[in-house]
């Protein structure tokens, strides 16, 4: 008769089961009394005790939603009510009287002055050169 081959997993499972059973545990008399006394002192909650509760969360949900919406409306109303209707500061009507006029021409003259002098010098040099040529040719 051939010996039945046991799968490794089954062998492991069997050993785990057997080893668990070898863990020697017993409830002492003291623990037995303690457990019984504590259980006798417990008042179990009844199913009808919790049947009252389901309506409450829905009511709370509505109450909190309405409070939130009311608060949001109030904040928006206050923000709009306090919005400024006028400009933040008065702008002076006569700006020209307040702001000094900038002398743009003076600035341009200062900038072009050297060039003008150079041009004058060149023109006088040209005239001198013409007079010298006329004298040389006897005109």
């Amino acid at each position: 008769m051939s010996r039945t081959k046991v799968k490794p997993m089954d062998k492991l499972a069997k050993r785990l089961r057997d080893d668990a059973a070898r863990i020697d545990v017993n409830i002492s008399d003291e623990l037995d009394r303690r457990l019984e006394a504590s259980l006798l002192a417990v008042t179990p909650e009844m199913a009808d005790q919790r049947s009252v509760t389901p309506a409450r969360p829905l009511m709370f949900w509505w109450a909190s939603t309405m409070t939130g919406v009311a608060a949001a409306v109030a904040v928006i109303a206050i923000m709009n009510w306090q919005a400024p209707q006028q400009p933040a500061a008065d702008v002076p009507l006569n700006i020209i009287a307040v702001v000094p006029e900038i002398d743009l021409k003076a600035e341009a003259a200062v900038l072009t002055n050297p060039l003008q002098e150079e041009l004058d010098n060149l023109e006088s040099d040209l005239k001198k050169a013409e007079e010298k040529v006329r004298r040389d040719i006897g005109l």
Partner: protein
């Protein structure tokens, strides 16, 4: 099972005696499991007591589509985690050799107990999944509910846990003859 359903119905109606009868069926198994998750024996007993009290108090919320043991284990796992605190350290980090409740419950001749290795090699949740599967014979769906994990997480981690233990088993002297 019918007897169990009758006890549950009576306990739901407020009978503490019926719940005590019900608790007697599971308390040793629960305590054995809690010894693997608590730092010492006293803590495991406290968690067992708290779990049974919570189960009785909130029995109205028990869904009969679940196995009663699945529901109890779920409560016990939560209570054990609560006792450990929010930092969620692994159980192994809490325990010292002298106070180790699991070692206390394993005879000296049984120190090759695979659950001792499992506790060292696997993290808490994978260990719990393995325990519920092999010590409690729970289905993958029941384990998922007890651990508050998805079925795919449970399948994957059961497979990983088995592989880890198998590879560890191949390192230690084979005891398969005892089971073959």
């Amino acid at each position: 099972m019918t007897d169990e359903l009758q006890l549950i119905a009576a306990a739901k109606a407020g009978s503490a005696d019926a719940f005590c009868d019900l608790a007697r069926r599971y308390r040793e198994r629960l305590l054995r499991f809690l010894l693997t998750r608590c730092a010492n024996y006293a803590d495991a007993e406290d968690v067992l007591q708290d779990s049974l009290i919570s189960a009785f108090r909130y029995l109205h919320s028990y869904d009969p589509r679940w196995r009663f043991s699945t529901w109890l284990y779920r409560i016990a796992i939560r209570n054990a985690a609560k006792l450990r605190g929010p930092d969620l350290v692994e159980v192994g980090e809490l325990r010292d050799e002298e106070n180790d409740p699991l070692l206390q419950c394993i005879a000296d001749s049984e120190t090759e107990n695979l659950w001792l290795n499992a506790r060292q090699l696997l993290n808490d949740d994978v260990f719990a999944a393995m325990w519920l599967r092999y010590a409690e014979d729970m289905s993958v769906n029941d384990i998922s509910k007890a651990l508050d994990r998805s079925a795919s997480w449970t399948k994957v981690n059961l497979m990983r846990g088995r592989r880890t233990l198998e590879s560890n088993l191949s390192d230690v002297p084979d005891q398969s003859e005892a089971y073959g």
